[in-house]
Symmetry: C2
Subunit: 427 residues, 2 copies
Amino acid sequence: MAAQTVASTTDSVDLGPAAALSCRECGHRVPLGPVFACEECFGPLEIAYDFSAYDTEELRKRIEAGPANIWRYAPLLPVPADVAEKPNINPGWTKLVQADNLARELGVDPGKLFVKDDSGNPTHSFKDRVVAQAIEAARAFGFTTLSCSSTGNLAGAVGAAAARAGFRSCVFIPHDLEQGKIVMAAIYGGELVGIEGNYDDVNRFCSELIGDPAGEGWGFVNVNLRPYYAEGSKTLAYEICEQLGWRLPDQLVVPIASGSQLTKIDKGLQELIKLGLVEDRPYKIFGAQAEGCSPVSVAYKAGHEVVRPQKPNTIAKSLAIGNPADGPYVLDIARRTGGAVEDVNDEQVVDAIKLLARTEGIFAETAGGVTVGVTRKLIENGLLDPTKTTVVLNTGDGLKTLDAVAGTGLTATIRPNLDSFREAGLA
Amino acid sequence: MAAQTVASTTDSVDLGPAAALSCRECGHRVPLGPVFACEECFGPLEIAYDFSAYDTEELRKRIEAGPANIWRYAPLLPVPADVAEKPNINPGWTKLVQADNLARELGVDPGKLFVKDDSGNPTHSFKDRVVAQAIEAARAFGFTTLSCSSTGNLAGAVGAAAARAGFRSCVFIPHDLEQGKIVMAAIYGGELVGIEGNYDDVNRFCSELIGDPAGEGWGFVNVNLRPYYAEGSKTLAYEICEQLGWRLPDQLVVPIASGSQLTKIDKGLQELIKLGLVEDRPYKIFGAQAEGCSPVSVAYKAGHEVVRPQKPNTIAKSLAIGNPADGPYVLDIARRTGGAVEDVNDEQVVDAIKLLARTEGIFAETAGGVTVGVTRKLIENGLLDPTKTTVVLNTGDGLKTLDAVAGTGLTATIRPNLDSFREAGLA
C-alpha cells in the first residue's frame, strides 16, 4: 500500500514517541506514514513506540501537571510534544463515577463499582478520543481533507474536530439516515454526502475513493489513518488507572464494535505496567455485545478462535459491526486475562439504560446499556467478581439514541390543582 | 414565610461559609433556611458569606488542588467543606475554548475571544451547576423530595441529580411537551407529572403546592431553595477567571432568562476581587436576549429601570421568560459596568449556531446562538471592543434543540461510485 502524501516517512514527521509502524501479525516494521496494512502479510499495522527515555516518577509528574484532557498523556501517544497548543477539540479526562447506587442494585460491594462516562466528551462519545489522534496524524502527513464513512457518532466527531482544527471535512453516510443524525453531523458545516445505498455501499465506495487520485490528500480517519486513530482508545485505560490513584482495576467491562477499543485498552494497561506507573498484577477484561450483533460473544462461548460474521439487528447501532476486524484479538485478550465475552438482548439493553439513569443520573447511549446489562449478567452467572474493583464503560450519550427509550414517559397527568394531585397519589 | 422543615436555622445547618440570608433590597438578615422572600419587604433573599478567615494565597492553592468540578470552589459556596465526598453529579470545570476561528470571522483580535462551553456538564446545560447547589441545601434542610417546574433543561438536571444523590424527585411539566423532552426528563426514573395546562399553569400549581401540607418536605430548587440554587452561577465567573490564569476578562456576553445567571456572575467576579484572587480592574457585562423575548433589552434601550413583561415567541425556549425576576438588577449591572443589553432575531440565532459549529466545532443550544449572535451585533454597532479579552457563554447543548436547526442537511447525494462523486464536484 503506497503512502499518499509528501511527508510520509519517519524522518520527516514529528509524532512524538511514535517510532514506526509495526505489523500486529508478523512484526514487520515500516516508517510512520498513512498506511494501515502490512505489505508483507496484510496484517494490521500498529504504532511502535520508543519509551526508553522515560523516568517513571518524572513521567508521572509530567502527566499529573498536564491539561485536563487526553493531551496529558502526550508522551505516550503518536502526537508531537506541543500538541496541546494546536487547535483540536481536546477530548478526554471524563468522569470516573463511583457508582454506589448501581453497585447496591447489582450486588457489588460498596466503593467497588465505577462507570467511566465518556458522554462528557465534546461531541458526547468516545469517538472524540480517536478522531483527535487522527487529526494530529493528518496534520503531520500534510492532509487537508478529513473523511470517514459513518452512521452516526463518528460523523459528528469528525465534523467537529475538522472544523476546529481547520481541515475541510467530507463525511459519507447512507442518504436515508434519520434527520436528527443528519443534523448532528451537518451542523459543523463540512461536506456531508449521502450515498444512495446502505452502509456497506458507503464503505465500498470509500475504499474505491482512497485508491483513486480523487482521494489524494484525504485522510480517512478509520482507514489510512487507522493506526493513529485507534491509539486514542488507550487514553481510556490511562485515565481509568490515574483516576483510581494509579491503580489497575481488577475488572473492566468494555463494549465491542470492531473490537479495537478493547484491544487498545489492553495495550494501554500493558504500557502503564511496563512503564512502572501501575503495579504489575492481574486484571480481567470482559467484552460486551448486543445479542442482535454478537459475533465475538458467540465465538467466545463456542471456544472458537475466529469470528463468524453476522448480519446486525439490534438497537445498539453504534456497536452493530457484524464482521469485527479485531474480533480474534478480543477473544485472545478475554481468554488470556481470565475475562469473558457476553451479550444481552435489546430489552435488557433498555432496562440497563434506565437502571443506570435512575441510580447514577447518567443517561447512556445504547452501547452503555449493553455494558451495564452485560455486567449484571456476568455477576448473575458468576463470571464477574462483585467484591473486586470493576470499571464499566459508557461510551456515548443517551441524547443520541432517544428512539431506543422512546416509551419512557410521564408517570402521571393531572389537572393544575391540589385535589387532582392528591387523587393521583403523589402527596 | 415560615421555614418548612426541622433543620431550618443557621445553628443547625452546615453550609460552609454561608452565614445567613440577606435581603437584596433592604438588607434584612434571617438565619439560613428554605425561604426565598424577605419577611420585611418581600425582596429576594441572597446568601451572605463570612469569608473573613481566608488568606488569599492559601485559598488560591486550596482551589487549584481541588477537584475538576465546581467543588474546587467549595470555600466560596453555601456547601459543607466535605461536599466533594457526597453523592452529587459534580458539574463544572467545563472548557474555556480559545475561539480563534470564530474571532477571525467576527473581527476580534487573535487570542482575545473565548467560549465558555457549558454543554460539557453532566446533563449538558449550566442548570447542573445550580441544581448541584440546591441538592446540598436540600440535604442540609432535611428535604427528601426534590421538585421544580420546567419545560426542559431543568427537568433533566433535577432528575439526574436527585437520582444520584438519593432523593425522590417530582418534576412538573406541561403535559403536551415534545416526546423527546419528556424522555430526557423521564429517563432518570423520578416522578414526571404532566399538568393539563401551559407553563404558567404549572408554575401556579407549584406555588399552591409549596404552601400546602402536601408539599411538606419538598425542596423546589428554584423556589424555596432559590437562594442556594442561584449561587451555582457564581461558579461560571470563578472558572472563567481561573482558566484565564486568575485574570478578569475585559468583557463577558451572558444570556438572560430570569437574569439570575448574569447577576450571580457579577457577584462572583466581585467576590474574587474582594478576596484578592484577581486584580481589581474594570470589566463589562453584556446581556443577550432573543428578539422574541427581549424585555430586558427593550428596557435597556429605552433607558428604563424597570422591565415591562412580554409574551415570549422565540426558538430560544430556554431563555423565554417574559417577566424576568432579576431584570432590574441586570439593567443596573449592564449600565454600571459599561456593558449593554442586546437582542437578535431567530434567523440570527440559527446563523450564529451554525457559525459557532463550523468555526469551533461546538454545537450550541439556541441560547448559545443568542450569545454568539449578540456578540457579532455588539461588535458591529461598536459596543463591544474587539481588541479586548471577551468571554461568550454557551449554556447548553445543540442536541437538546435540534428542531431549531432541522433545515441543516446533506450537502450532496450521490450514487456509490467515483463518476457520481466527480459529477457532484466533490473531488
